[in-house]
Symmetry: C2
Subunit: 576 residues, 2 copies
């Protein structure tokens, strides 16, 4: 049974002890009414919802899956009520624009709420999170008319949102899409077929609002000829728009989430943003989703850890190498075995590090939007740009790794469906793929975020790390790690000027290297501010485990990067 208890204590530690959220909020007018007590109430309420409403449906909904009957899509049993609790509690509008009825809470705080919703029931939350992303995109780019029609309904979850980007021949390379938009008065007629549309159709909302990428007549070819349209399921109450659900996918995981093929047949759509600038508008949504999907990896890792942790407390097997520790029982706890501890501590180190990073990026997002001086806003935006692909890829890769480790802790029992560990592995796998595969994130990081400005933004981040090295006991190791990152980055900037393939060949290793060093920095800072109590003592121990057993991966990554692109590119294409 996949019980879930929101890690509220650790979330508060990250918010208030590590990142001093109260000072942050005091300095921004938008958040002047939020303090630690209010945040605690919000975290507790979201925790209750995730534990009592969302988590109990996680396994049954996976077993049942979403249903497709002759064009009608139905969510699994229980989702209707649970989704109503999620939306009527206002949880989809927590970080949205207050002018349209949302609550405008700091991203720094809502990152923790997202972690709870992803962790307790990813499939259910998928019906909600794309709604949030669609609202952000509409808020940033659409006309006032569209905003006032759609935003209030989206924030309350009466209507939900979806992104219709991918076509069967065009995923990563959206420049290849063929869906067309023909002007028709103030509106457009959209025609084409889109696939992989998460929550594209279902029975949980009155209306479903698609953000669709399509080409205007005579639009330039490639990615500069794509426009964005709002295409609702119902044009008004009872009047269906011209699109239909072709089927839903059978997937490895998140099977309770309906992933649709949608056929648009002269469906009426309304332009969002400028013609041919649709991809830029869509990126507003995608950047939100990328952060959120990174947090999905984190939330599912936490769920996997909690499940494994319950098992380790009950399971006895074998004896401690130092002699029986449970001499009156037939065997010792499996936690006497160093390798079981390694698996459990690896999860903790990546989960708690991931929570720190995602909250840190949330804080940077808040500052980028609300800080009073322009310089802080710009510096914060550079941090967001640099770290967004890292949160997406590094946290989902670690989420997968942690979920596999959690499953492994169970031995054979972890392979049995009823246990739940295997579902988490299946569910988290999508987070490494959708919203831009982790390979695409890594290329974005290495080529656009690091190399394009010659390493300047990365240099700023390194300087930021050096300005607060955290625990003096860990600072030698941390210094060495930061030096190594700096040195590899300098090498990469230099070498890439003579090798166009290098960014791609080094990209995944480079992102992993940055992720491990950033985690080391956050762990050292967490160790430094850990309170003088049991919680704090444990925090310090996990920090040391991270430095001993996980940070050394950077030695390998460093060497792999410096070996360059040559033997990646040499192999002939037709020999694969």
């Amino acid at each position: 049974m996949l019980d879930y208890i929101a890690p509220v204590e650790d979330m508060q530690f990250v918010l208030f002890d590590l990142l001093d959220a109260e000072s942050e909020w005091r300095e921004m007018a938008a958040f002047s009414e939020i303090d630690r007590d209010i945040a605690r109430v919000i975290l507790d309420e979201a925790g209750k919802l995730s534990a009592k409403v969302m988590a109990p449906l996680n396994q049954s909904a996976d077993a049942e899956g979403a249903h497709w009957n002759d064009g009608e899509v139905k969510a699994p049993t229980g989702f209707d009520e649970a989704f109503r609790e999620l939306t009527q509690g206002g949880w989809l509008g927590v970080s949205g624009n207050a002018d349209y009825g949302a609550q405008g809470l700091p991203k720094m705080l809502t990152a923790s709420l997202e972690e709870m919703f992803w962790g307790s029931n990813s499939a259910l939350y998928l019906y909600g999170t794309l709604t949030v992303g669609a609202a952000i995109c509409i808020d940033a780019h659409a006309s006032d008319d569209i905003k006032s029609t759609y935003l209030p309904k989206l924030y309350t979850g009466e209507w939900t949102g979806a992104m219709a980007l991918t076509e069967s021949h065009a995923g990563t390379d959206l420049g290849l899409i063929r869906t067309t938009a023909k002007p028709d008065g103030d509106a457009y007629l959209i025609t084409g077929t889109k696939i992989f549309i998460t929550s594209g159709d279902h029975d949980l909302a009155e209306n479903i609002v698609h953000l669709v990428l399509a080409r205007l007549p005579e639009a330039p070819s490639g990615s500069r000829g794509i426009s964005l349209f709002v295409v609702p399921k119902f044009l008004s109450a009872g009047t269906r728009n011209g699109w239909s659900s072709g089927s839903i996918e059978h997937k490895m995981g998140v099977r309770a989430s309906a992933t649709s093929v949608i056929n648009y047949d002269d469906a009426i759509g309304y332009l969002v943003g400028e013609p041919n600038r649709g991809l830029e508008c869509m990126f507003t949504m995608m950047n939100y989703e990328r952060l959120s999907v990174g947090i999905q990896g984190l939330g599912l890792a936490e769920l996997a850890y909690q499940n494994a942790s319950r098992y380790t407390r009950e399971r006895i097997q074998g004896r401690s190498a130092s002699g029986p520790l449970n001499p009156d029982g037939p065997a010792d706890s499996i936690l006497v075995h160093p390798d079981v501890r390694r698996m459990m501590l690896t999860q903790r180190a990546y989960i708690e590090g991931g929570r720190a990073l995602s909250t840190f990026v949330g804080a940077a997002l808040d500052r980028a939007k609300w800080a009073t001086d322009a310089e802080t806003r710009q510096a914060s935006q550079r941090i967001v740009d640099l770290t967004t692909p890292v949160v997406k890829a590094f946290l989902t890769d670690r989420g997968h790794e942690c979920s596999v480790l959690a499953q492994q802790v169970f031995g054979g029992h972890g392979y049995i469906v009823e246990n739940g560990a295997e579902q988490i592995v299946r569910d988290v796998r999508i987070a490494q793929i959708y919203e831009g595969t982790n390979g695409v994130q890594a290329l974005d990081f290495a080529a656009r975020k690091v190399l394009r400005d010659g390493g300047v933004a990365l240099g700023d981040f390194i300087e930021l790390m050096r300005s607060d090295m955290g625990d003096p006991e860990l600072s030698d190791d941390l210094n060495a790690a930061i030096d190594r990152l700096e040195s590899v980055a300098a090498w990469l900037v230099e070498a890439a000027s003579n090798d166009v393939e290098l960014a791609g060949a080094a990209s995944v290793d480079m992102l992993d290297l940055f992720g491990h060093v950033a985690f080391a920095w956050l762990w050292s800072r967490m160790s430094a501010v850990a309170p003088e109590n049991e919680f704090g003592a444990r925090k310090k121990m996990v920090a040391r485990f991270f430095f001993d057993k996980l940070l050394p991966k950077i030695y390998a990554l460093d060497a792999q990067i410096r070996r360059g692109s040559r033997h990646v590119m040499a192999y002939p294409e037709d020999a694969f």
Copy 2:
């Protein structure tokens, strides 16, 4: 569609170019009639069976699953005929004892056959491979009477075998089992419940032969009080023995393989080997199965690679960083992207390295049994003992890694069930768990195989590697890698004398380190003997990719090991 084509060309390269199988076979009387031509015919025939009979059922059988109806277990549609082709072709008896009707082929050769059967349809082969293991165990430990009753039927697959070890509270720690055996004339009455019995019950064979671990009355407690029994389903035609199938498990993968709970209720069993020495006898079977399961990881990685490889040949997306390579098309092949190449080459490097290692260990097994001089037999047995846990754990961990990479190559399409990539990820996951989890393998390697003799067996292996360094172009890197292994091992032997937890804390990293260095050695040798043609040129390129992008992992492993056990063990048990 999970098409599978047996990689016969590469298998022959490993057998004849790398490991000079013909010389090996000439020196052993048992194999004097086998040569390259005969081996080729056998490989081709097994390749046809796997491609045309086994692979076509792989996905449909997974979708259907094994059936349990009120105590009767049924394999999926088509398995009956396919299993008959597998058994009637004599494929289960290929390496068995010729005195009882089997073919006694070299393990070095049959390792490749196993790879094909695992790769083309793991679930189907599971109905066969435990039969082979049971036969090996009976051949080694049972009375002549039992041998002549069971072996001929097992080798032909008319009867199949199964291992009944695990109980719900006792998996890794078999000393805890509670199943009892009460003497009853020449036989014993077995009572208890066993779980996780692969192929424990099904409808593919006339009879099913369980090897059951149970306790005799007054047996010493723990692992020295366990005895082994043969417990068939039918005592004679039509006469059921006293056991029944309680249920079958719902599993993450290999869903077409029936994994049974079996209730023994005064079932008649016959003792195999000495009383209370059952675990030793069972290890004969388990060591066979461990090698075989390692090869399962390899076979499934090959299947995953082939599936991804077909996709890369069709899929176009984006443009080369060096400018369009397919200027007349709307996009370039995804193989222009360095990171797609990295994912594909990583698979090749681990797969072809794994094929070399498993065949190398097969050759050592043959020599351990058949070499004319005792010293060679003993030295070869030490290699087998050292490398068996490595093949099991390293090849299945890499099999999982490769399957995940292959799925990743597909982007979103890899998450869709019909594509097949996700099934491989689900299927291969069990290979890291069963037959002793990979953590147990690592502990066996570090504590029993490396530390117990103070590093002598490992030192012999290092000497063996140094005696043939392969390609001079790679020898600096190889030398450095071997030095590092030697130095870490010496440190470990020294440090472990003062730290009982160190072996466990370093075990997984130590096995990974050894695996990477052994692969580097085999890759350098493969590069050295690669023929002067297209095949050989590609082999050399993959070797260089391995040295550039995968071997550097040893730098991280080295550092992690040397950080010791302290921060693995410090964390309090009740805080997990």
